[in-house]
């Protein structure tokens, strides 16, 4: 136990960020799209979420960012059972999660700057502080010139980068990114992955859902594979009874 990094300390303090036990999910009265999912993600880990189109990656993420309740099973976040949390606390938990939605979900009537600033505004930050911080991050993702552009006037890849900036601006403890590089070229994809790795180094738990095989090859993080609503892959990662495995 010679060199404890900041990350090691965090992991020790927080334990598992997510712990799914026997979770199933369905949309309204539709069929189950996730079946009996159990796994645990330790704080500070980095995972790819893979699987064919329609397998349930985005649905799993919906459960993780508290947009949907499980049909069966239990989900614990930061050690607390999610289903027992009151509304007020759910909001507080959500602020600890940054999400890159597969379809971006930028607000059309806001500029890139305002979109990215939203998480800070919601937590009550002062306007002057926000502005510089947001502008800097936007330049970093290559949108320095487009901070005042509305999403509809941005290219697909530019919108995606705004969505990523919004997800990371508030330094969340968890980052969930759904296909975050589907619309950008290889160079930018690499740059964004480096950004995620930087965040991971300071303790952020990261889950990236992706189909991008080049990315999967170049960044050798742990993989969670989902097929037809069922988790498949090395047993150790998904065995919630055992100690959680790190990436």
């Amino acid at each position: 136990m010679g060199n404890l990094t900041k990350k090691d300390l965090l992991v020790a303090a927080v334990g598992d960020v997510f712990r799914f036990e026997g979770v199933s999910m369905r949309y309204r009265l539709g069929p189950e799209v996730l079946h009996d999912i159990s796994f645990a993600l330790p704080a500070g880990s980095f995972h790819f979420l893979t699987g064919p189109s329609g397998a349930g990656k985005s649905s799993l993420m919906r459960l993780m960012y508290l947009a949907h309740r499980p049909y069966r099973g239990s989900i614990a976040m930061f050690g607390r059972d999610v289903s027992s949390l009151p509304r007020q606390e759910l909001a507080t938990f959500r602020r600890r999660i940054g999400v890159v939605f597969q379809d971006f979900r930028l607000l059309e009537h806001l500029t890139a700057l305002e979109n990215v600033a939203l998480p800070l505004r919601i937590s009550g930050a002062k306007e002057v502080q926000i502005r510089d911080q947001v502008a800097e991050l936007l330049s970093w993702v290559g949108l320095g010139e487009q901070i005042n552009a509305k999403p509809s006037t941005l290219s697909g890849g530019e919108q995606q980068r705004v969505a990523i900036a919004r997800a990371v601006i508030a330094r969340p403890q968890v980052l969930l990114a759904d296909e975050p590089t589907g619309n950008v070229d290889g160079m930018i994809a690499t740059r964004l992955m480096h950004l995620f790795e930087e965040l991971n180094k300071i303790g952020t738990t990261i889950v990236v859902a992706t189909h991008n095989e080049a990315l999967l090859e170049r960044f050798p993080h742990s993989r969670i594979r989902i097929e037809n609503g069922v988790l498949v892959g090395p047993r150790d990662i998904f065995d919630t009874s055992a100690e959680t495995v790190q990436s």
Binding site: F93, R94, L107, H109, E114, R121, I122, R131
Partner: protein, 290 residues
């Protein structure tokens, strides 16, 4: 530097402007109906006070009208339950007839009946038929008119108008609530995306409700102020017009100080109702999100 937006598309779009107009109309209606209702309420009260229990006796014209009238007054004074008896002077009769027969009535020198005002002890009644018989014996053709019956009708009308006005005002306030619930829900459905994103990045329900309340407050304030101004101007105008029409108008159709104060509370009350409704509506919609 322009202020950063708070996250919801709450601009002054055509729909909002239309809503302001509608709000103005509702508040105008409420103001007018409240004013009418309050006037009618005080009219009914003063009618009740000043006119209840009165009779009018008409002594027909004829050679001995004067002496017949005097005898009749005496009989009336002797009748039990009668508090006061007064002969109405010719001048008053002519004035009362003027609107019907024109200014030429006195010139035509119509042989008008003599009129006698009779006040009954409050709470008591007088049998009209018995009285008519008794008086006709002295002066044939004498007619006893039951003012209180006429008054009863007037009271009925006044009460009806009051009830209708107050119901209209209540209905208007209810439709204010309905309008608010409806427009808020529509807006939230149209902007579900934006609302959902704010929710998912951790905005409290009250953050979203508060933004919408601020927006609605301005929208409604403008509309309510306009509608209220228009309504009170109208009330003032009518009061002025009635005032000029006849100083000796039978009924007092003006608003008292307390009534004006009540009227002024109306738009404020409306806005408070609106803000509360918006908050309630937004939060109840938000509860459909996890």
């Amino acid at each position: 530097m322009k202020k950063l937006s708070n996250g919801l598309p709450l601009g002054v779009d055509p729909v909002s402007r239309f809503l302001t107009l509608k709000v103005g109309l509702l508040v105008l209606l409420a103001t007018l109906s409240l004013a009418v209702g309050m006037v009618m309420s005080s009219v009914a009260e003063s009618l009740q006070r000043s006119l209840s229990g009165t009779l009018t006796v008409q002594v027909p014209a004829g050679l001995e009208q004067q002496s017949a009238t005097e005898s009749i007054i005496e009989i009336l004074r002797a009748t039990p339950n009668i508090r006061d008896v007064r002969e109405i002077p010719d001048r008053e009769i002519n004035e009362a007839l003027e609107p019907w027969l024109g200014a030429q009535a006195p010139i035509l020198d119509l042989p008008l009946p003599a009129l006698v005002d009779v006040a009954i002890e409050s709470g008591q009644t007088v049998d009209i038929q018995v009285l008519t018989k008794k008086l006709s014996a002295v002066a044939p053709g004498t007619v006893v008119e039951e003012h209180s019956m006429w008054l009863g009708r007037l009271m009925d009308i006044t009460n009806t108008v009051e009830t209708v006005s107050m119901s209209v005002m209540l209905l208007v306030l209810i439709s204010v609530v309905i309008t608010v619930v409806f427009s808020t829900r529509t807006w939230m459905a149209v902007n579900r995306e934006a609302v959902e994103v704010l929710h998912l990045i951790g905005a409290h329900d009250s953050y979203i409700a508060h933004q919408f309340q601020k927006h609605t407050f301005w929208l409604w304030s403008v509309g309510a102020a306009g509608g209220f101004a228009l309504g009170t101007s109208f009330v003032l105008l009518i009061q002025f017009y009635i005032g000029r029409l006849s100083d000796s108008f039978l009924l007092d159709l003006t608003l008292g100080d307390i009534q004006w104060a009540a009227l002024c509370l109306l738009p404020a009350t409306a806005i408070i109702i609106v803000i509360a409704t918006v908050g309630f509506t937004v939060k109840s919609v938000m509860r459909s999100f996890m």
